[in-house]
Each structure stands twice: as C-alpha cells, then as structure tokens.
C-alpha cells in the first residue's frame, strides 16, 4: 500500500479489551503536522485530569511526522504519556528504526490504552495487529534478551522496530525506559514503567509501505540539498567521530562536569572516561538510526575472560554517549574505564534511564556518607565514590526492591530524599533527575521549565557556554530559552533528530514541508511552535506543575559553575519570566 505524504492514520490498541481499530485523523495532522504537535493533542483526548500514571487510563502515544521515511535524519518517534516519575507531562524521543517502521506500517500515530490482565506483547505488521502471549517473556530482566528472542520469532528483519522493557519496567521503577534496536531509548520520564503497568513487554512494528509526494522534483531536489549539508559540511562530524562524549573534557575544563553528586564541577578522573579515551581504546563499531547518514551510535567492545576456563572470552558491546558518561562516570566518581563500561552495561540491560539511575546512586552515596541511610537499609552495600561494583549491585536492587529504601530509590531521588533526608543534594528538577550540564543558570532554568524535562528542551547549556563572562539577565535567559524551545517544538513535530537542527533551519524546514505538500511559512511554523508549547504547558499546569513551587536543590548554588556561583533567586526569576511568556503565547499565539 502506498500512503500520502501527510500521515493521518492513527492505530488505536486497547489492551483491556484486546481490540484495535484505525481512525483517520487527517485534521490533527493538518493542523499540528505530526510528532509532538499531534501527540499532545492525542494525549489531551485520552488522558483526563488526575489520571494515575500507572493505572490503565494512562495512554501511551507514539507519533511520527510528514518527513519520516522521506527525508534523512527524520528518524525519531515521539512518545507521550503521563509520567510516573513527575506526575505530569511525559515526553521522550527515540530513533532506531521505530519511526520508519511506524510510518512504513501505514501510521502517523499509535495510541495504546487500557491494561492487559496477562503479560502481552503486541506485533503490528502493516494492517495486521496481533496480541501475543508474553508469559514466556515476563521476568526476562535484560532488554537484550527480550530483543534477541523476539527477533527470532517475528518477521520483518531490517524493516521492524522492537520496543521493549527489561526488569526495571516490569517492576515499575519510575525511571524505567523502553529500549528499541538494542541501543536506542525512550529514556526519560518512565515510559518503561507505563509499559510494565499495562503488562506490555514489547511492541513490534514493521511495514513496507511507500509514501507518495505531491511534487516529485521538489522532493528530490530538497533531499539532495539536505543530504549534502549533512555529509559535506562540518555540522555533524562531531557526532560521528568521537561523538557526544567529546563534551567530557570540554565541560571538565570549564568546571561544568557534575562530579560526585555535584560536590564539584571538575573530575580529576575525566580523562579515563573521556570520549577520546573510549574511542581510542574501546570503540568497536558505529551504528545509525534508519535513514541517518551520521551514525552517532558508538559501541564499545569490552573483551573479558571467563573465570572458569582459561583463554575463554566474551565480548560485550556497550553503547555510550555523553549523558551516560556523566551520570554513570563522573557523577559517581568512576575513573576506571572498564568498570564504567560494566556499570553502563548493567543499566542498559535492566532498562533503567541512565541519567536518573546515576543521580539516584550519587545521592544514595552521599546520604550514606552523611549517615542518613544505614548499611542495613542499603541491603549490605557500602557505596563509595568510584566503586562501580557496589553500584552494579545497587542497580540490581533498584530493580528488585528488596526493602523500603530501594522501593523509594526506585521512585526517584525526590521521593527517596523526601523520606530519608538530603533534599538539598537530591538533584532532581520538577521531579526529574538532572542531565549532565552544570554550566550556569540557563541550564537549570531549562531543566525546570522544559516541557519534556531534558537538556534538549531549550539547550540552556549551550546558552551558558556562549555567555561565559557575560551572564545574561534572568529575563534574557527566559527569552532565549523560550525561543529555542519554541523552534524545537517544530523540529519534534516533523520529527527530525535534534542533532540535525542546524541542517533543518526554518528555511530548509519550510522547503522540506512544501515538498510533501505542507505549505507553511517560517513565521507560521514559529507560531505553531508557540502553540504546541502552550498546549503542553496546559497539560503540565493541569497536572500540578507549579512554577511558584519548584524546588531548587541547594547544592547547585554551592558548587561554582563556569558562570560562578548561581543564585536561587536568579533561577526563580527566570522561571517566572519563562512561564509568563508561555502563558502570553497561549493568549496571542501569533505575537512573534
């Protein structure tokens, strides 16, 4: 079957009734394009106020956009749900083959509702949807194993996506992730726990639909233009070569690399976990999301001997990037490269979000140091900075939750510190554990205001890095972050990878959309971005996001940033400016 250039079909799956149906929602895609824009509308339709994030009424929405399958680096799927970690908007993006598979199966969106009474996985092969008994899969702790077994039992090799959870999702760890194509993740905000709460172990999607465009010549011309920019300019090289871990040494030099639960912004062991070191000694393979020439996925090859037999080795492939290196490296004081990789591997297998897990482990270490939690509560582990073996054991216990303490740690650092103390060094913002940039005020304002609570929301770190020595006023910070986040709403509605943001400039985006029959001026796109952001804020505010009440952990004001010490007041002022901007955008969305 061939589909038209603007996606419109929405596949609804009801897990309670084991039913599915397809609706044509052309009007939604016409107005909101796709991705985040469409997802927030579907979320509002499906998720009423006060819905329990781990109850059957929390929907899971996956969306792609009109550029998916047509243009390079339009490689991402947007997932939206109510977050079990923060209790408000949950948005997470992943690539792999997920986006291409959803669109090739003939859909613009998949909405999963209800909850199953038995473990299931769902296989969507084009128009056919199968509810499959996952009894044999339930209890598989490793996301790698789940993938390996499903791979052998489902068709569509090469044109399918296998989105699955590990032990963390099954056990409802609030920051469990959904893994796709082994090394790509819907990482943040606990989509894995939402899968687990529905007894949904995996979602397999495959298809081979082609997509027609209204203007063939324009399509191929714009494709060429974008492709050339991607491969011939320097815009994307850094993501391919050393990859995002190139930031480890850069941030360390700026003293903006969160170290030992942010007691410091500088890590003396940074070189050992730097992108350069990993590339030189461990990089064994690169991989790419479908339709992306950049190939930013870096896999380390770790060769280890088996202890029970001489000259018998196994090679483990471990994907790494900057965020992991911060959260499971410097944040925990780990400078043993092999130990770091082993910890990354366990977190990957269990299906825990690396950033949240790292921040939780860092808080627990400091809480233990300060005597807030006992060895007994830690189930016998005595965490020490750099002791990766202790952290591997603790990760296992976050999943298994043998006692009250680990039950709380599995709910996030905010919940754990509320119970055990140490909120001043519990590094969560709006309930979500921080990303790895202690770069200055803008980064933190971004964590607090970002609609999906990620460093990629409004790129505060980038504003910080550009303004060292000339810290902008709170008002200016709010303005810049708002502008960036507005535009990113458009990019995440197409849906393109944010690494391609310099390629998909407003001008090129309008052109690419025009080639698929969507005529929007740059200005109209920007105002659509404002509108989408305002819609997300509606949902956030409705579910209890309260800008007046946001907690700023004292630790971030104690450890100097590249902008010196930052004050809570600056941050709070910038946050209220920001929220005001969103609110006025809501009233007057065309006011640019």
């Amino acid at each position: 079957m061939s589909s038209s250039a603007l996606p419109s079909r929405v596949l609804y799956i009801d897990l309670t009734k084991k039913r599915f149906w397809i609706e044509d929602r052309k009007e939604l895609f016409e107005e909101y394009i796709g991705g985040s824009g469409v997802a927030i509308q579907l979320l509002k339709e499906e998720c009423s106020k006060g819905t329990d994030p781990l109850g059957p009424d929390n929907p899971i929405i996956f969306t792609v956009g009109p550029l998916t399958c047509l243009f390079p680096m339009a490689s991402k799927t947007v997932a939206m749900f109510k977050s079990p970690l923060t209790g408000e908007l949950g948005e997470s993006h992943a690539g792999g083959r997920s986006a291409v598979a959803i669109r090739s199966a003939g859909y613009g969106a998949i909405v999963i509702k209800g909850a199953s009474d038995m473990p299931l996985y769902i296989a969507v092969h084009g128009n056919r949807v199968y509810f499959k008994d996952a009894a044999a899969y339930w209890g598989m702790e490793s996301t790698l194993t789940v993938g390996r077994v499903i791979r052998e039992n489902e068709p569509g090799s090469g044109v399918r996506s296998i989105m699955r959870i590990g032990g963390a999702g099954e056990r409802l760890v609030r920051y469990a992730m959904v893994t796709t194509e082994t090394f790509r993740h819907f990482g943040r905000l606990g989509l894995g726990a939402v899968f687990g709460s529905k007894k949904l172990k995996a979602l397999v999607v495959s298809g081979k639909n082609t997509i027609e465009v209204p203007n063939k010549k324009l399509y191929r011309d714009v494709y060429e233009e974008l492709f050339k920019l991607m491969v011939e300019s320097d815009l994307l090289k850094k993501y391919h070569e050393i990859g995002t871990p190139i930031n480890v040494l850069t941030l360390n030099a700026l003293k903006g690399l969160p170290t030992r639960n942010l007691k410091s912004g500088e890590f003396e062991g940074a070189e050992a976990i730097s992108g350069e070191r990993l590339a030189k000694n461990f990089l064994g393979r690169r991989a790419a999301c479908s339709h992306c020439p950049v190939a930013c996925i870096h896999l380390a090859a770790l060769r280890e001997p088996y202890e029970d037999e001489p000259y018998f080795y196994k090679t483990t492939w471990i994907s790494y990037d900057y965020e992991l290196t911060y959260a499971l490296g410097s944040m925990l004081g780990i400078s043993d490269t092999v130990g770091f990789l082993k910890l990354v591997d366990s977190i990957e297998k269990y299906g825990l979000d690396a950033m949240s897990a790292g921040v939780c482990l860092a808080w627990a270490t400091e809480a233990y140091e300060k005597g807030l939690v006992s060895k007994e509560e830690l189930a016998g582990v005595e965490p020490k900075w750099g002791d990766y073996e202790a952290y591997i054991k603790m990760a296992r216990m976050i999943v298994a939750q043998p006692n009250e303490f680990y039950k709380h740690l599995a709910m996030g650092v905010e919940a754990a510190a509320t119970k055990y103390g140490g909120l001043e060094f519990a590094l969560a913002f709006g309930g979500n554990e921080m990303p790895g940039y202690h770069t200055g005020p803008a980064a933190y304002v971004g964590y607090l205001t970002g609609a999906r609570h990620s460093h990629l929301d409004s790129a505060g770190y980038s504003l910080d890095e550009k303004t060292i020595g000339a810290t902008p006023s709170p008002e200016k910070i709010a303005e810049e972050l708002f502008k960036e986040e507005v535009w990113r709403q458009v990019l995440s509605s197409l849906v393109v990878c944010f690494f391609a943001r310099r390629v998909y400039s407003p001008e090129k985006t309008a052109k690419a959309l025009s080639a698929v029959g969507v005529e929007r001026s740059e200005k109209e796109l920007a105002s659509l971005g404002e509108k989408i952001l305002a819609e997300k804020y509606d949902f956030k505010l409705r579910e209890g996001f309260n800008p007046e009440n946001l907690r700023v952990p004292r630790r971030i004001t104690e450890t100097p940033t590249p902008h010196g010490k930052i004050s809570e007041e600056t941050i709070k002022r910038a946050v209220s400016f920001y929220v005001e901007k969103v609110k006025s955008a809501k009233k007057q969305p065309l006011n640019l």
Partner: protein, 133 residues
C-alpha cells in the same frame, strides 16, 4: 556490465540510506520498492548484512524458474524484468539463493535491481560500490 558489489560489510552502520535511495528512484519515500536490503546479523552489535543482486551468469537461478520468461538475461550477466510478462507468482523470490529478489507489494511483482548504482551514491561508509563484472 555493472553490478553493485558489497566491498566491506564490516564498515556498514545500518543507516539504510541505500535502501531509501533505491525506492527514491521512483520519487517515493520508504523502502517498499528497494532491491537492496540491510539488516542486522541478529542484533546491531553484531554488525549488518547487505543483500543485493550479484548479477549471476546466464542462466540466472531466478530466470530459470520464471514460468513466463519475464526475467530476461542482461547480456549474460544479471536479469531484466519484463513487467508485462510477469504474472507475480513469486517463484523467482524463492529461487534466488541469496534472497536478493525482493517483493514489491504494491505492484504484486518482484523488485529487481537494475544495477544503476544510485544506492552507492548515498553510502557514506564505502560499503557498496558499482563495479564492472
């Protein structure tokens, strides 16, 4: 006489740019008409397999089983699909020893490589190239 050769599959990153290029020959998105296929060797960590027509010597295995003679030899190496003769029985798909005859579901006919080399123009990693046989 040219064909696509897989020079070094170890360099493949699985981006599937080649697959998209092949269907884009028809100004279409997706890979429903692609005659080159890239999949992992049982998990991305193990690397990738690139499957594409090797332009076999006459009589090519696919041509030998075609009941209507729709797969004509291309001057002794490789085949050409004569679309009007093809009844869409799918025997050629089964006959290809390396799985390089694909199926165009929308047309109900096989998708056969035309050895144009367009795919190789989009491989950034030197995995495939158009070569003389």
């Amino acid at each position: 006489m040219k064909r696509i050769s897989v020079v070094d599959p170890e360099r493949c990153v699985g981006c599937q740019m080649c697959m998209f290029a092949c269907t884009r020959r028809f100004s279409l998105g997706g890979f429903g008409r692609s005659t080159i296929h890239v999949k992992s060797v049982g998990g991305i960590e193990r690397g990738f397999v690139v499957v594409v027509c090797r332009a076999c010597d006459k009589p090519a295995p696919c041509a030998r089983v075609c009941p209507t003679g729709a797969l004509a030899s291309r001057d002794g190496k490789g085949v050409k699909l004569i679309r009007d003769k093809c009844i869409g029985c799918g025997k050629c798909v089964e006959a290809c020893p390396i799985g390089a005859v694909f199926w165009d579901e929308e047309a109900g006919k096989p998708a056969i490589c035309v050895y144009c080399g367009y795919c190789a123009d989009y491989c950034e990693y030197g995995v495939i190239k158009l070569e003389e046989v």
